[in-house]
Amino acid sequence: MSPLLRVEDVHIRFGGVVAADGVYLDLEPGESLAIIGPNGAGKTTFLNICTGYLKPTAGRVLFEGNDITGQPPRAIVRLGIARAFQIPQLFLEHSVLDNMLIAAAARTRAWNPFRAMVALPERAEMIGLLRQLGVADTAEQRVDGLPEGVRKLVDVALALALKPRLLLLDEPTSGVSSSEKFQIMDALVQALKNQAVTSVFVEHDMEMVSRYAHRVAVWNGGRVQMVGTPADVLADADVRRDVVGI
């Protein structure tokens, strides 16, 4: 099977800091890959390159065989790569459902200027997505009144509203109490499975990694140091020393 995403020899530097120094990575359709690594290893930079926010100085990014290197974020979203952020990016002054409908409108590009929000055909579908993530009861609430954990799930629902084939998540459970973490990840992984979305998530919590990832990629100094199953990677002596910190 050809990879969903292929990253070839990608380089980028910010002044003296080399954030990507020859990154190679293949992503199989349907898998869930965790990215771990010390701070400053270039994990978020990698997500930014894949989503078009940063243009690499060398190398290529292929999505479903098409070269998307350096394309603007909007074009990449349309091709099917969505992203959820470490700090949820939501329109705070809108209700949860309005946020979803705005994303749906961005996806379909059907735009009748005077169409009422209550009459949009995507309404049921969006409520269904919220239900999958277990936050349907917040649909009519304004985002700025919601707790962080719920916002995270709404952020993921928003990304899924774009019907991506690949979803990149930057620390999906950061800033959430440890009791909520598993609940959030369970809902998230189930929703990704239902929608058949391949996912990449940056994570610091090794327990989350071993529980939810099919494969793990270890970042270090702007390179992929190692790729393997969670069991193999977490058993590796170098990884345990540099990343896990044991």
Binding site: H94, A105, W111, R115, A116
Partner: protein
Amino acid sequence: MTPQLALLATLDGIAYAALVFMVAVGLTMIFGVMRILNVAHGSFYAIGAYSAASIVLGLTAAGMNPWLVFPGLLLAAVGVGAVLGTLIERLLLTRIYTKEPVLQLLVTFAVFMILEDVQRLVWGVRPYFAAEPVYLLGNVQVVGIFYTAYQLILLPTVALLVLVGLRLFLRRTLSGRLIVAVTEDREMATALGINAGRVFLLTFVLGSTLAALGGALASPTTSLVPGIGADMIVLSFAVVAIAGLGQVEGAAIAALMIGLGRSFAVYVMPELEVVVPYLVMVIVLLIRPEGLFGVVERRRI
């Protein structure tokens, strides 16, 4: 001041506030969404007024059904807003969205100057007066005062419709929600795949149409001379500053403050008439620098 005079001043003030509100709310919307302070907004008011006067005079001269002048006023507003608004946004503003505010201000000021001369070329410097719509609606009596129905009923009604309509549009329609979303966080809206360019065009045309509507509705009540656009843009800036940038309901209240302040000054201390709007503005800004209803820019993480 007799009660009758006070009532007269109040009616004058409301009628004037209705016009100022329509222009100012367009200006504040454009600024709220696009972050461009559009000096050329005054030109839309002036050209809307002149076009409306031409249509009214043309219809009257052609001996058509006189009531056609009302659709004529609306047509002038929508036509000027849609055609001129689209041209300016697409050809000029799209090039300067990423430039620094000083340059944006200079460019819209240049557009304003050019359009001032275009008005002189097309309509000359002779005053235009096309009061047919005011005569058609006649006068009404309010507590012993005769007042034109056009200014007493039509202008405030249209202003209220604009206020309520804009509120519903921004809250309840997809386009309105998209406009608010782009205002709140343009980067994120783009990340979702929303075409911010299209939202900008829609906003600019809508805001410009409101300015042209203000002009078209003002044309029957005043004589049109070169310079009306400049007067109106300065007043609109005062309204927007008093209300706080991007505030729709606030603009209505600020317009009323300025309208009433000005009309009362006319009767009480005529020499203060011109200064009153700025006095109100200075007092408000001294107490609340962000405007009456403005919010201090939220910190973005």
